[in-house]
């Protein structure tokens, strides 16, 4: 069992899902409440990681994060570190890769809120921020929890993008799924089995938590 890889995986999944909370909320709010030219293109771009092969996405991210690229170069000049083959680069790539898993549930949850509810809040004197925090956020909460859990589980299990962006640096970019791959290649089947079971268990527990949460909530307040 590669506990170092386990630590990297958990850290990456936690950081990614926490980062996706504000990013996902902002994008979901924008898509649910505003009409603008190119809305469909933005939604398609967010959904793209769902359909693109991870290696393709990984390739473009690798090119984009390279120190010769604009973004990668800017990061080097600001921090002195490169993004490619680093934990930070992996974190950034994971945010992009798990974006649809965060935005879609949040967007669906926000779309189910009747526009009159929002307007009733405004007519009750609540500012737009207060309406968001007191009305929209609690109503979209099941979608937000689902988004967080899905992006956590998805990041935990990602392989192709990690391999392309992070490589396989122990303690830095080697995640549990890479470690499983390595173990299989090295015929260490016992280690591969235990690590696979851990990933399976975490995925099962987190998805069950989502279902349990949504069911218990719908019993208290039927939305």
């Amino acid at each position: 069992m590669d506990w170092q890889a386990f630590e990297v995986s958990i850290k990456l999944a936690l950081l990614t899902s926490v980062s996706l909370l504000p990013i996902g909320l902002a994008l979901a709010y924008l898509l649910a409440n505003t009409k603008f030219v190119g809305r469909e293109v933005l939604e398609a771009a967010i959904t793209l990681p769902l359909v693109l092969p991870p290696t393709v996405l990984g390739y473009f991210l690798l090119v984009g994060l390279d120190s010769n690229s604009f973004f990668g170069g800017m990061f080097v000049s600001l921090t002195g570190h490169t993004l490619a083959f680093s934990f930070t680069g992996l974190w950034f790539a994971s945010i992009i890769y798990s974006l649809p898993f965060a935005v879609q549930p949040m967007l669906r949850a926000m779309e189910t809120i009747e526009p009159e509810i929002r307007e009733a809040a405004w007519c009750s004197g609540l500012s737009k921020w207060k309406t968001f925090f007191k009305i929209e956020l609690p109503l979209a909460w099941p979608g937000i929890i689902t988004a967080m859990v899905l992006s956590f589980s998805h990041t935990l299990g990602e392989f192709g993008v990690v391999l392309m962006i992070g490589g396989n640096i122990a303690g830095e970019t080697r995640t549990l799924s890479i470690a499983i791959y390595d173990s299989v290649l090295a015929f260490e089947s016992e280690q591969a089995k235990s690590m696979s079971l851990i990933l399976l268990l975490i995925a099962l527990v987190s998805i069950s938590v989502v279902f349990l949460f949504n069911r218990s909530r719908s019993r208290v307040v039927r939305l």
């Binding site: 405004w122 609540l126 009305i135 609690p138 109503l139 939305l223």
Partner: protein, 358 residues
């Protein structure tokens, strides 16, 4: 006093002029899609018209010329939505608490509001645990919690059953006596408007056609357009003629006396209406002197009785099959043994005939 003056050509055409005094209920009536709710949304600040002004008391809420457009939060309005739009994740108590104008002594104020709308004891219920009528009461309490300067009710009775509706009419009627603000009630139900409102404003295709007291609008509409919108049942065309110095209405072969002809001249073609309740049946067994007042004869085509009133549909003789509807108490219809196919004579009361320019 609320004064509204709005114009726009798109996305929804609007040409609106209405006013409502403090303590008064103004019913905004019109068919679905007439623009009633849009007008209400404009007053609430949820929609901005292209031109116009909205003034409430001494405050200007909206003035396109001076680029003034208050947000709903700045307008101090109380709005009851068609489906109430209660916050589903909050209890009755919290629904009202969120809208309170001042948070100090909130418990006392919420208790007062709940008592006002007869909901004491249901503070901890969630909206989905309430009946339609109770939800409407919470929506009214929430709207009043803001101590609004205008109360806006968007078809508030459409989501409840008929029995509850009648109960809520009475409650609103009682509640309004304690309120001193203009109340705008949007409805497509003319009976509801006539029952609850102090004045009615008829709107069609986004244009306000007439505002006045319910009796005036329903029985003396300004023109044919208003008459059609308020569902006038006896509407026809005739010509005014001079008969020995007095103006009479020549309707096919009949010469009808009309009391109010002040604004009309001989030779003019006019639309005329008469309320079905103002057509009198000549008793067959005991004729009365009233027979001399505009008698017309017709054959009963159809009869229908609802809540003790029998509506008789008559095809009038010598009028190319023009029809008139007459309302008589059910017992009168029975005493006179009215049957479909019978020929009867009726009087059209001269003071009930209302003329409109063509």
């Amino acid at each position: 006093m609320l004064k509204v003056n709005l114009q726009q050509s798109s996305p929804i055409p609007l040409d609106v002029e209405l006013h409502c005094k403090n303590g008064e209920i103004l019913a905004l009536v019109g068919p679905s899609g007439a623009g009633k709710s849009t007008v209400l949304r404009c007053i609430a600040g949820l929609h901005s018209a292209k031109f116009g002004q909205i003034n409430c008391s001494d405050q200007v809420w909206f003035d396109r010329d001076n680029k003034k457009d208050f947000t709903p939060q700045q307008r101090r309005i109380g709005m009851v939505f068609q489906n109430y739009a209660l916050f589903p994740h909050l209890t009755v108590y919290d629904n009202i608490r969120l809208a309170l104008a001042e948070q100090s002594q909130s418990e006392k104020k919420i208790a007062q509001l709940l008592e006002q709308v007869h909901l004491t004891g249901l503070e901890q219920r969630y909206p989905n645990q309430l009946s339609g009528g109770q939800q409407q009461r919470v929506a009214i309490a929430r709207a009043l919690a803001r101590e609004p300067e205008v109360l806006l009710l968007d078809e508030p009775f459409s989501a409840v059953d008929k029995v509850t509706r009648r109960k809520l009419y009475l409650e609103l009627n009682t509640l309004r006596r304690s309120l001193d603000m203009p109340i705008i009630l949007v409805t497509h139900d003319l009976d509801e408007a006539a029952m609850l409102a102090d004045s009615i404003c008829v709107i069609h295709n986004g244009k306000t056609l007439q505002q006045g007291q319910p009796d005036q609008v329903l029985h003396s509409p300004k023109n044919v357009e208003v008459a059609r919108q308020v569902d006038v049942r006896n509407l026809s065309i005739a010509k005014l003629v001079d008969v020995e110095g007095s103006l009479k209405l020549k309707w096919h072969e009949y010469l009808l006396n009309v009391d109010d002809v002040a604004e009309f001249t001989s030779g003019q073609t006019v639309h005329w209406i008469v309320s079905p309740a103002k057509i009198l049946l000549h008793q067959r067994v005991r004729p009365s002197r009233g027979e001399h007042e505009n008698p017309v004869t017709g054959v009963i085509q159809e009869m229908i009785t609802l809540k003790g009133i029998t509506t008789v549909l008559l095809i009038i003789e010598d009028t190319h099959n023009e029809m008139l509807q007459m309302d008589v108490p059910e017992h009168v219809a029975m005493r006179n043994k009215l049957l479909i196919g019978d020929s009867i004579t009726v009087s059209i009361l001269s003071d009930a005939i209302h003329l409109m320019q063509d």
